[in-house]
């Protein structure tokens, strides 16, 4: 188990380096001199430009720049923006917004997705199943930003059930955006659970459970669900990371000052360090979520061996 964990962490390193380097290279290959972009139309004195180039290692070859940046990043210093603010503090107020948003979305997709999936799986081929299946297909088919705008218009503006935008009203303002953000994954979770339930319903051990004379709810909860939900854990675990990096669209529609918006602005103002910093953190979250899921898998399914 420990050997496995260590090996997995070692395997993460090339992935982390690869992803961040790609982003780093891309960001610093953005056309136009970032220093000049920062200054706008006003010409900067050459000495200032030189100083800034020096400070951000802009004159080194790309690989060296990257190596220097990552060396600092691993000491917790993700660099400074061109405004002189550290990357960590520039986004300090933004992380909680995205985290809360992703969390609401995640809980929603977990609860609603599993419930709908179990319901459909137990009634496979019946009316309920078809409605749920059709509904999830529809959710996947309608682009998230259309769902977001429609939800905002109907539930926010017209019927005034939820706050229209912003984060002023605490957790309440996260409900609607969270549901919208989670809806896409909800459809996948529901389908995954449905298939898994339908497959496990035919398993021999389900027949054994009935032959043991167990009450119906016990057969379903202890024997069917426990087995059927194992594959869903993988999806849900990894999805928390995807929700955070995918929150961009929802944050834009609901005007929430989250990480996504921060990145968007950073990309457009060519603030490379900011983009790379955030990417590094997001990739780290994704990698660790993956590792935790894999370890959890072994706890849930005793047949899994870690070699």
């Amino acid at each position: 188990m420990w050997r496995y964990t260590v090996r997995r962490i070692l395997q993460m390193i090339p992935v982390l380096i690869g992803t961040t380097f790609i982003i780093y290279a891309m960001v610093f290959a953005l056309p136009g001199d970032p220093i000049q972009a920062l200054a706008g139309s006003k010409p900067l004195p050459q000495s200032v430009i030189n100083a800034l180039h020096e400070r951000y290692n802009l004159d080194d070859p790309l690989v060296v720049q990257y190596a220097k940046y990552m060396a600092n990043a691993f000491q917790g210093d993700f660099g400074e923006t061109f405004y002189g603010q550290s990357v960590t503090s520039a986004l300090e107020s933004r992380w909680p917004v995205t985290l809360k948003l992703a969390l609401v979305a995640w809980v929603f997709e977990l609860v609603a997705g599993v419930t709908l999936g179990v319901w459909a799986g137990l009634r496979r081929g019946k009316f309920t199943d078809r409605v749920i299946l059709g509904g999830t297909t529809l959710i996947i088919a309608v682009p998230t930003f259309v769902v977001a705008y429609s939800a905002q218009l109907l539930l926010g503006v017209k019927w005034d059930i939820f706050p229209v935008a912003g984060t002023q009203e605490g957790w309440v303002s996260y409900i609607l955006p969270g549901i919208v953000l989670g809806s896409f994954s909800l459809a996948f979770v529901a389908r995954l659970v449905r298939t898994s339930i339908a497959e496990n319903l035919r398993a021999d051990y389900m027949r054994t459970a009935r032959a043991k004379g167990l009450p119906k709810h016990r057969v379903v909860v202890r024997h069917l669900l426990r087995n059927s939900l194992i594959p869903v854990v993988t999806y849900l675990g990894v999805d928390l990371g995807s929700l955070m990096s995918g929150a961009l669209v929802v944050e834009a529609v609901f005007n929430m000052p989250g990480i996504g918006q921060g990145i968007f602005q950073a990309v457009q103002t060519k603030q490379g360090t900011l983009v790379v910093g955030v990417t590094t953190i997001l990739v780290l979250i994704y990698l660790f979520a993956n590792l935790i899921v894999d370890l959890l898998y072994g706890v849930l399914d005793p047949r899994i061996r870690y070699e």
């Binding site: 690869g18 790609i22 953005l30 297909t137 996947i140 930003f145 259309v146 669209v249 457009q268």
Partner: protein, 310 residues
């Protein structure tokens, strides 16, 4: 010597024939099953409809894209919500005053081309890399798997956003390139797993013992038996690629003017959403119906090919 060789060839031919025969009958069963499925028929018809718009827009409208526009008519909604009312502009006008129906028809090509091309590229890559990785294993597998991990680990939207900001020209092919670079990973992993499972089957061992070359083993024996799930995922992938392209359009890093696509129309409509919801409703319906048709086809095909759940 020549005797042995011809014997080997004959034996290989027989094994190959059996495999092909079996997959043919499986496909035949699936086809019979599919023809009776209303969702499959509906998906096919929808796709035919949208496909004909993409291929032959002149069948559906006499106007060219971005032509005969009248700025004075900009943001004028349809006279009637009934698109068959016989009005000359059944969908009204877009933000630049162009006939919205004509723009809608011309907006079909980009998403369809993007969805299909991205998936074809991804399919090609995944079959190639997945088979190599799964069949040969060892350091090659290690290398391909790590590269797959890296591409898979890149935050999707973020990656596309950065790349597209780096390249100023945003025509269809730029979008195809970026999305292909992001979307080959899942299918490659799927393919690799399938190949690993298939290469341990007895018929593969038999073919190898009879002296079939690696290439022949992969193409005649492994791929035909391993590729079905990848194909099924590919139909879903078309929908996902179209959807992703529309998100890029929405974020303003997608197709540039004068390219038309439903995504761009949706992006243009956002600012007007509260006052002129129809601007968003029409492209949303077209886009969603297209995605729906691919999803329904994918579902139907998967059910038909998965006898376990039939």
């Amino acid at each position: 010597m020549s005797n042995t060789q011809s014997g080997t060839a004959a034996a290989t031919a027989t094994t190959g024939g059996t495999v092909a025969g079996r997959s043919a009958s499986l496909a035949g069963d699936a086809w019979r099953e599919l023809r009776r499925k209303p969702s499959f028929i509906a998906g096919l018809l929808l796709l035919l409809l949208v496909g004909s718009m993409a291929a032959f827009p002149s069948l559906w409208t006499s106007r060219e894209a971005n032509e005969q526009c009248n700025a004075r008519m900009a943001k004028t909604g349809p006279e009637s919500l009934n698109p068959f009312s016989g009005s000359e502009h059944p969908f009204g006008f877009d933000v630049s005053g162009c006939d919205y129906w004509a723009q809608m028809v011309h907006g079909a090509r980009a998403p369809i081309v993007i969805g299909i091309t991205v998936t074809l590229v991804a399919l090609l890559l995944s079959v190639l890399l997945g088979s190599l990785s799964g069949y040969y294993g060892g350091w090659l597998d290690m290398l391909i798997s790590r590269i797959t991990d890296i591409a898979f680990g890149l935050p999707f939207i973020l990656g596309a956003l950065v790349v597209l900001t780096a390249f100023p020209e945003h025509d269809i092919w730029a979008i195809v390139l970026v999305l292909s670079a992001m979307m080959w990973t899942t299918m490659t992993r799927l393919m690799r797993g399938q190949v690993i499972a298939a290469k341990d089957q007895d018929y593969v061992h038999a073919a190898k013992m009879l002296g079939a070359s690696d290439l022949r083993v992969i193409f005649r024996h492994i791929l035909p038996n391993a590729i079905a799930p990848v194909f099924i995922y590919a139909t879903l992938n078309i929908a996902l690629a179209i959807s992703a392209a529309s998100v890029l359009d929405f974020l303003g890093v997608g197709l540039d003017y004068p390219s038309l696509s439903w995504g761009v129309q949706l992006a243009d409509a956002q600012a007007e959403f509260l006052e002129h919801p129809y601007l968003m409703v029409y492209p949303a319906i077209f886009l969603s119906l297209t995605l729906l048709s691919f999803l329904m086809l994918g579902d139907a095909v998967r059910d038909a090919f998965d006898p376990k759940l039939r």
